[in-house]
């Protein structure tokens, strides 16, 4: 058991170390993220001009929502789909298949190493800088400060699962760029990073109730803002865990089906 864990610890380290080599790029995307936050901030400020509450969010809550949401995204984002896509394209997936590991957990933990790196060099610095530039509230409620970090870590594993499923599309079609872009926007919009779920028309909200996306950002952010009563907070975290398990299982299933379909074109 310890041996098995040691293996995934090494994958995590690998993911972390890989990004140390890209420090310049991380700095560049630090600037990009600040820009996204600023532009979103001004866009939302305009939408709120002359109004106090829209779709259950006050202007102050919304400003915090935008800044914390995009900052959290730097942590829970991953490149698993693109990594699998590239590995299929250049044939290096053969090497991955030879490794005596669980392919899915390998990607989860390697990306978690990246997420740890991002947390230290992106998420925290962005929150610090943004808190000087924009008026943001501290986590409110009794549980916000404790449960929010736990919830965002769960978001990472949930999003990792969705990216993994998307990455496996590369086993079935060669033209996966469009699918990856679709998934990216799907997650950005329906997770609630770009817009709180309550802004959508009723039928969309109903549909999202049955889908995992809103547990990536919307649910943790409501915990942060102290908008949920205690019972709903627990429920939200439990639903996150449930979705992580469901998507993990779906990933295992799709893998066993997809591996038979996989064609590797000689490089």
């Amino acid at each position: 058991m310890t041996k098995r864990f040691a293996k995934y610890w090494q994958f995590m380290r690998l993911g972390y170390i890989t990004y140390l080599a890209y420090r310049f790029q991380v700095l560049a995307s630090f600037v990009s993220y600040l820009l996204i936050i600023a532009l979103n901030y001004f866009l939302w400020k305009a939408v709120y001009s002359g109004r106090q509450v829209i779709a259950g969010f006050t202007m102050e809550q919304m400003m915090t929502y935008v800044v914390i949401g995009w900052s959290a995204r730097t942590f829970f984002a991953n490149r698993i789909d693109r990594m699998i896509g590239d590995a299929v394209k250049d044939g290096s997936i053969v090497m991955d298949l030879l490794k005596p590991t669980n392919f899915q957990l390998y990607h989860y933990f390697r990306s978690f190493g990246r997420a740890v790196f991002m947390f230290v060099f992106m998420t925290l610095p962005i929150i610090v800088v943004a808190s000087f530039l924009f008026p943001i509230q501290l986590p409110s409620g009794k549980l916000g400060p404790y449960l929010f970090p736990i919830s965002v870590i769960l978001s990472f594993f949930l999003h990792a699962g969705i990216s993994y499923l998307t990455g496996l599309v590369a086993f079935f079609t060669r033209n996966n760029e469009g699918v990856f872009r679709f998934k990216q926007l799907l997650v950005e919009v329906f997770s609630g990073v770009m817009i709180p779920i309550t802004f959508f028309p009723g039928w969309v909200q109903d549909a999202l109730f049955w889908l995992p996306f809103k547990y990536i950002a919307y649910a943790p952010l409501r915990i942060y803002l102290g908008m949920e009563p205690l019972s709903r907070v627990h429920q939200g975290v439990l639903l996150q865990i449930m979705w992580i398990i469901i998507i993990y299982a779906a990933g295992q299933l799709l893998w066993h089906y997809g591996i038979r379909r996989l064609e590797i074109q000689g490089g």
Binding site: V31, L39, F42, L43, S49, T173, G178
Partner: protein, 278 residues
């Protein structure tokens, strides 16, 4: 016209025709090669269309809860958004290979191959790929524009249709110029396109009325990175003809200016290009 000038001009004609023929041959070839993998082709098409739909849903939700934002009514905002999707679709349909330049052509050294041929290097890079999936962007943009105009009870005269087409093409030139300049930066700095990604991000905010952002951001989006001319100013011309007239008619000029700037940077960049030697 002296016969000397006549020969020169007919040479230019032949050169231009030659390039048009090449471009056409390339479009039909790349369509054929894409259709060879029919399932993949449609997978890409459907994915692109669904991505569009999510974008539309986002904009509808963002502005759906309020009747107007700083004086801009919902359907006016939708029209501007539709126009921005139309121009983005046109741009990415023909010029998406531009975004492969940093990684593939410069860092990996594919550009050597381009320089070996006796053809314009920019032309070669551009025609290498036609991104057919973007046709759905163009269609979705047009549908949103028509839908908004219907709600706004605005009907267009034939000359206005022509004007919109001209404005969309000018807007395309702005994008082309801005991104060519940004991509050309890789000839000097080995940065793999972080400047490009910042410009991409800002593009997402060009489909709304720029006046809602406040004066500073409006200035930047008008005069430094002129994205306001790719959707807002030309679209307003139809919505509120008396407003920003001058700005709308500046669009083609800004398009030509930035296109020229992009070409200039490209030419200088090619001169500075050093092969990776791989």
């Amino acid at each position: 016209m002296s016969s000397y000038q006549h020969i020169i001009s007919s040479l230019y004609m032949r050169r231009t025709l030659f390039y048009i023929n090449l471009a056409w041959a390339n479009v039909s070839n790349s369509l054929k090669s894409r259709l060879a993998y029919r399932e993949d082709f449609w997978a890409g098409f459907i994915a692109n269309f669904m991505t569009q739909m999510i974008g539309v849903l986002f904009v509808a939700a963002l502005f759906g809860r309020v009747p107007h934002v700083k004086g801009w009514y919902r359907y006016e905002i939708f029209y501007i958004y539709g126009f921005s999707q139309l121009t983005l679709g046109l741009f990415f349909l023909f010029f998406s290979n531009l975004f492969e330049v940093s990684e593939r052509y410069i860092v990996e050294g594919w550009f050597d191959r381009v320089l070996l041929r006796p053809l314009d290097s920019f032309f070669q890079v551009i025609i290498e790929r036609i991104h057919f999936e973007e046709i759905s962007n163009i269609l979705v943009g047009l549908v949103i524009m028509l839908y908004s105009l219907h709600h706004l009870k605005i009907s267009l005269s034939p000359s206005q249709h022509l004007m919109i087409l001209g404005m969309a093409l000018s807007a395309c030139l702005i994008y082309l110029g801005v991104f060519t300049a940004a991509v050309s930066a890789t000839f000097w700095f080995n940065d793999r396109g972080s400047l490009v990604s910042v410009l991409h991000l800002m593009q997402n905010f060009s489909g709304y009325p720029v006046t809602i952002y406040g004066p500073k951001l409006k200035f930047i989006l008008s005069w430094i990175i002129p994205y306001a001319f790719t959707a807002f100013y030309p679209a307003v011309q139809v919505l509120r003809p008396s407003k920003y007239v001058l700005y709308a008619w500046l669009t083609p000029a800004i398009g030509l200016l930035f296109f020229g700037l992009g070409m200039f940077t490209w030419k200088q960049g090619v001169k500075a290009y050093e092969s990776t030697g791989s």
